[in-house]
Symmetry: C2
Subunit: 302 residues, 2 copies
């Protein structure tokens, strides 16, 4: 995804954008967007603009998140904040937001731009909630709200907006929004599982990073339900600092328990709901591809 430069675009900004856009990632959001668009025979130019807008918005939020969390690695490569000043990192994220909005405008749809900008409000509000109340919180309800705001909301708008551009009827738009939301929930649950079970060399960041930040995700919530007297978990809940040895012990305990399989079952249930909402969609090759992509979301190991 090579971007045309702004007239007078700062060379340091250009090189930062190239670093960010070349650094890989699975591009699952553009994949959901483009397949949903093809399902309804959306004009390719508008579909591509939307897919790029979605990925750009995602990248913008990652740039600010990594800065705020002080994360030094992402996808096995140094983050922007690991190399630049905080100020330059804030501004690069801002530029990506602006570029995302410009791409969204290239869809020529006010309705798409509207759902797109509202989604950014949901994502940012979710991050603020996480900052103020998320640490050491151990409720399923809080967890599912958090992953909706953080991840599923963007998958939902990807599928919904693609369907809007395809001029599908309201029933299809709503069904595809549901599809996007459910695969997004599953995707994040699997991300959270990989933070326990993943191979550091493959995932590109250390395991246990959520717990170290005081963030309780589904695997540890399920484990704690079944082992309410685990003193390490209780200690992590009650302190706001993640003692490394304690975190390592909890990661190991969660891996050795049935909690991982239970969490994966929940992710698979979301995928089942997503696939069910495809049933009423046009029966073409893109519908099958979306269903296969959904299966990949819960079978991946990276």
């Amino acid at each position: 995804m090579r971007e045309a430069a702004l007239a007078n675009q700062n060379p340091a900004l250009t090189s930062a954008l190239e670093h960010l856009l070349a650094s890989g990632g699975k591009r699952v959001r553009p994949a959901v967007t483009l397949l949903s668009a093809r399902l309804f025979d959306t004009e390719p130019r508008r579909a591509v603009a939307l897919a790029a807008a979605i990925e750009m918005l995602h990248t913008a939020t990652l740039v600010h998140d990594d800065l705020i969390d002080g994360s030094l690695l992402r996808r096995g490569l140094p983050t922007l904040n690991a190399q630049w000043t905080p100020g330059a990192t804030v501004l690069t994220g801002d530029f990506l937001f602006a570029r995302a909005a410009t791409l969204a405008a290239e869809t020529d749809s006010v309705r798409v731009m509207n759902v797109f900008s509202r989604t950014l409000m949901i994502i940012v509000n979710g991050e603020i909630n996480q900052m103020f109340i998320g640490r050491g919180q151990a409720s399923r309800e809080g967890y599912f709200q958090r992953i909706y705001a953080k991840t599923a909301s963007l998958f939902a708008v990807a599928a919904e907006a693609a369907t809007i551009l395809g001029e599908a009827d309201e029933h299809a738009i709503s069904a595809m929004r549901h599809f996007g939301r459910e695969v997004g929930m599953a995707f994040q649950i699997v991300d959270d599982i990989l933070d326990f079970t993943g191979d550091e060399a493959v995932v590109g960041k250390p395991v246990g990073s959520d717990l170290r930040q005081g963030l309780f995700t589904l695997p540890v919530l399920l484990y704690y339900d079944r082992h309410p007297d685990d003193r390490d978990v209780a200690a992590l809940l009650n302190s706001h600092s993640g003692d490394n040895q304690r975190v390592d012990r909890v990661v190991q305990a969660v891996r050795d328990s049935g909690a991982i399989a239970l969490a994966l079952d929940e992710a698979k249930a979301y995928i089942g709901h997503a696939q069910a909402s495809l049933a009423a969609m046009p029966a073409n090759a893109y519908r099958q591809a979306l269903s296969d992509l959904a299966d990949y979301f819960v079978s991946r190991n990276v």
Copy 2:
């Protein structure tokens, strides 16, 4: 400008937004927007959405700027970053960007949303330029590029977008964009003059703040043209730290010279161009009000 809260909006975010939106400011950008809209009998609902979007975008950029510059006061009140963590400040700015985009979508105009998002790219790119090459730079050309990106671009889009919504012809749209650009240039020059001549209690921040940050604005550029052997100015240009006593001496020298009057003359010339481009616009009360507002831009002392 009381904002309806997002469902589940974090209370800390709500209180930060109330602090920011209640903290005053001159609201000159909404004034330009609303008067330009009335000039062409634009639907009030859409004009108000645009004016709010413009002011919200402006506020978002201020929140991140104050964080990056470490500014502790704005309009005589503590900045958000003076009270909050950097992370919460970054996210509040992001939320304001998202809210601005949502308001821009309420204009129901793809063209407006397009120019609006492109303007944000220009503003942010200008800030990045300022960060990487702006310090200690003493060229008129660089100065005018900088204040276009920082200030005039937003005034330009305010007047242009209001005229687009008013369904005026392309000639009027282009003339009003020019009007906005020129009053914006004048507005920023006067801001930069006030950073030398202003009364700290009235302006709400210490004088000489630009020089202290290594930023050379029009008054000191004009002074240095006429006093090329001023060693204090040369020292500020060549060092990247603003020694306080040296800055105070330069501020005093600029105040005592004719540079302030010369800078004001340049601002007035911009206002003259702006008023000239109003000549072909509909001759109603709003045209007069825009002309009067332009005069205020160069007569204000705050």
